[in-house]
């Protein structure tokens, strides 16, 4: 049914977000609809901006590490890793092999926790809350492992400039192996569920299809790209840290629909289990850290790592002082967001939460760079913002 004639060319726009029951994170989407069918989509981000890129410029190299690690609560480790690898390259520091292997170990544990988290969220968006509850229960296993290993459930803070903070003892190795054994069994079960549950398949099979050609044009990264048959995995293309010693087999699917994105992410879990076990079996002996100079030689570098959502890109420039000159962060969600806007067109409005969840969006990664300021450009302090907020709402 077309409403163009009836409404004399006027368009009907459904705004979703930044605060909306069907969207758990702050983004604003405008969907232009014809009846139930989406004909156009646009996005507005920035609701979770904290001014992190700018803030690194007035903090020293070590302080910036802790700041960048807090860009994202889900993939904190990869941000710290990308930054450390870049700064170490600039400083000409060689990190001991044991430290590099432990970095990869934590990165893969983080991928497991992130993919389980995503599986739960995506299942919830499809209305399959039983799957959501089970996956999040199982996710506690890997969260417990991360806590036992690093002392923290989310911001593990495993990296320091020049190495890692903690060792992997044989006892903790056994704990990890036991946890992985349980998770592997569960993962087989989930793979079966998402590929055989008929009700679930109606929400995923043939929905949000992105062809290989489209994926290339849209510049998507990570599992979203791999589900359309494109090998885009930095661990494979440009191995960093210890990935050259622990090679990754990229997981691909051809269909490019939501089902393919489920299959790719779940199968990647098996690859992560394999790599972690291999690292535990063959962990190199040696130091955990090397000495890092306080000042970093002037220069520029590019550092790329494979976050759970895809390629994370850091550009770091040093001017030879204590502080970075510029840190540019390009997160995978920014690349993948454009694909949502394109694949949304032609689908039912009710499919939008699922299509959005399909790229595993991370808004805190996306949004980084705002300092609240008044019209004269003077920055507010947190205390001033609080007082301003109270005064503003009392005035209403």
């Amino acid at each position: 049914m077309s409403t163009d004639g009836n409404l004399s060319g006027k368009r009907f726009i459904v705004p979703i977000g930044p605060q909306h029951p069907a969207l758990k994170e702050p983004g604003h989407f405008s969907f232009t609809v014809d009846g139930e069918i989406v004909t156009d989509a646009s996005v507005r981000l920035g609701y979770a901006h904290r001014g992190i890129e700018k803030a690194t410029e007035s903090r020293n190299w070590t302080q910036s590490l802790y700041l960048l690690e807090r860009i994202c609560g889900i993939c904190s480790h990869v941000h710290a890793l990308a930054y450390c690898l870049g700064v170490e390259k600039l400083a000409g520091v060689e990190v001991p092999p044991r430290a590099q292997a432990i970095r990869v170990l934590v990165a893969e544990l983080e991928r497991i926790h992130s993919h389980f988290l995503w599986l739960g969220v995506a299942a919830h968006e499809a209305g399959f809350d039983t799957l959501f509850m089970y996956t999040w229960r199982d996710r506690e296993t890997v969260m417990d492992i991360l806590e036992a290993l690093t002392g923290n459930r989310v911001n593990y803070s495993a990296n320091v400039l020049g190495g890692v903070k903690f060792d992997v003892t044989p006892e903790i190795g056994d704990t990890i192996r036991r946890g992985l054994e349980f998770l592997e069994g569960r993962t087989h079960h989930y793979l079966e569920v998402v590929t055989t549950d008929q009700v679930f398949l109606q929400r995923t099979r043939g929905v949000g299809v992105m062809s290989l050609e489209q994926a290339e044009t849209l510049g998507v990264v990570g599992p979203t790209a791999r589900a359309s048959g494109m090998i885009r995995d930095i661990r494979v293309e440009a191995p960093y840290a210890a990935y050259a010693d622990y090679p990754v087999q990229p997981v691909l699917a051809e269909a490019g629909d939501l089902e393919a994105r489920f299959i790719v992410r779940i199968k990647e879990l098996f690859e992560s289990y394999r790599i972690i076990r291999q690292i535990l079996d063959t962990l190199p002996v040696g130091e955990l850290q090397t000495r890092m100079p306080r000042r970093v030689k002037a220069g520029e570098t590019v550092s790329r790592v494979e976050a759970p959502r895809g390629e994370l890109f850091y550009f770091i420039k040093s001017n030879g002082t204590d502080n970075p000159e510029r840190v540019k962060v390009r997160t995978p969600t920014l690349c993948n967001m454009a694909s949502v806007l394109v694949t949304a067109v032609g689908h039912q409005l009710a499919d939008m939460p699922m299509i959005l969840a399909g790229i595993d969006p991370c808004f805190s990664c996306n949004d980084r760079t705002v300092i609240v300021a008044d019209a004269d450009g003077a920055a507010y302090t947190w205390e001033q913002i609080r007082h301003h907020g109270i005064a503003f709402y009392q005035g209403k």
Binding site: S42, H49, G219, V302, F315, R330, A373, G377, A379
Partner: protein, 157 residues
Amino acid sequence: MSSAQERLAAARDILAAWVNDFQEPEPERLDAGIAPADLMAAVRALQTAHWGYLAAITGLDLGAEAGQLEVLYHFCSGAAVMTLRVPIPRQESSVPSICEIIPSASVFERELAEMLGVTVIGTPNTDRLFLADDWPLDSYPLRKDAFVGSAEKEQGA
């Protein structure tokens, strides 16, 4: 898959018509200085030759003294990273939009425009992406003279 060195050599061949200033700052990186007027032609040539993908656009402020900004277009192919470096004046700075060739560049260009005050000529969407609606129009957060010392003020130093 060819090695990073072979890919960078191929990029040199593709770009030779517009670039005479090639630098190799690191083993798997190539920097190519290019004039704003030649940007479109160079990007089109890369695209026609299927050389990698646009990974990010970085804006650099070289400071008020230098009076220059630099816009970096990072293209990645396997382990190779090739960066087109476009120097532009700090006042009335502008670059042409490459969205016509690479549509996914739109979000990168919006970020560049609002954060560094670079006019991206012909970009399809000039709405703000990250900054708030009531953010002052002439304030560009990633310029070096924006909010100097605000962190110290916040920390009470």
